[in-house]
Symmetry: C2
Subunit: 146 residues, 2 copies
DNA sequence: GATTGAATACTCGGATAGAGTTTGTCCGAGTCTACAGGG
DNA sequence: CCCTGTAGACTCGGACAAACTCTATCCGAGTATTCAATC
């Protein structure tokens, strides 16, 4: 998310090494995550010299949920193992991921989490950043200038 | 959670082995989780023959969040590593777990999740179970009878 | 027959290994750039 | 002086190990029961 925000301040491709150096991160590892963002259509990659990553679309059109799903995967955090299928009164033909009352409650909670993340875009977060720390964009632009 | 619900149908201590046999679970592993629920004050343990676990308080007074916190631990699922502390414009004296805009948004989403879990008690879930499957309590009582 | 004592079986409780997922690393394929040689 | 070809360096991309968390297991401490011996 921070890398996406940083890319929002500039308008030219930035290499993984440059982005990683901002926070002292392992470049190869960050690259792995950025690739996931490319597969999700959030970033685009440019090979060769002067290449790197840039935003595929405006920050307004990228929700926090988009980023989370891209990095963490599409599976929900709570996974129902259908445990009561093997219990007394359990039927093999019922899908307890939707029928089990416990699973329903857990999914409802996770849905609230996702709803909150979906309602917030990276542009909203960027606005908060500039409000709280107006010279942050300048710092980032300077660090990412060619 | 299922074990707590099951204990809600009976009023005598039930051993780990009995509870585990309901779903074909490893008894020693379930015991570990039940111990966590005891430490959290949700269950009480009774040693010796005819011992086991029983509810420490009524299901109405146990929220899903209580169970989750007892088993998963008190730490939030999202942990801010204060990454921007090492970036340009980062200050060592600021706690970015509360100051960072990204962290704020993630925490807000997790708060929505916790709020949902806190608003729902095990008694609510038990009511759903009896509504959807009225003979489930009978099945469990029969399986857990001395 | 009632009581007391010890032995026994059953329970929880925390310390100890094994699998799975996340984190971190490496090298190869592709591409733009820059330079040198020739026209 | 301009053009073209080639070598080089830089980038992403996916395949490969290490660390950590979660899952699963084992054995010891404690307690109610039960049985037998005694009063």
């Amino acid at each position: 998310m921070h890398s996406c925000l940083n890319l929002g301040w500039v308008d030219h491709p930035v290499s993984t090494a440059r982005l990683a150096r901002l926070y002292g991160l392992p470049a190869a590892y960050l690259n792995k995550q950025l690739q996931a963002l490319v597969r999700a259509g959030i970033l685009t990659s440019v090979p060769g010299p002067h290449g790197g990553f840039r935003l595929a679309r405006n920050l307004e059109h990228v929700s926090l949920l988009d980023v989370v799903v891209a990095v963490e995967g599409p599976d929900s955090a709570f996974r129902c193992t259908q445990i009561i299928r093997h219990g007394p009164g359990g039927r093999p033909d019922v899908d307890y991921r939707s029928a089990c009352a416990v699973s329903q409650s857990m999914r409802r909670a996770e849905l609230a989490w996702r709803r909150e993340l979906a309602a917030r875009t990276l542009a909203d977060v960027a606005a908060d950043v500039t409000r709280q720390n107006p010279d942050a964009p300048g710092h980032i632009r300077a660090a990412l200038a060619r």
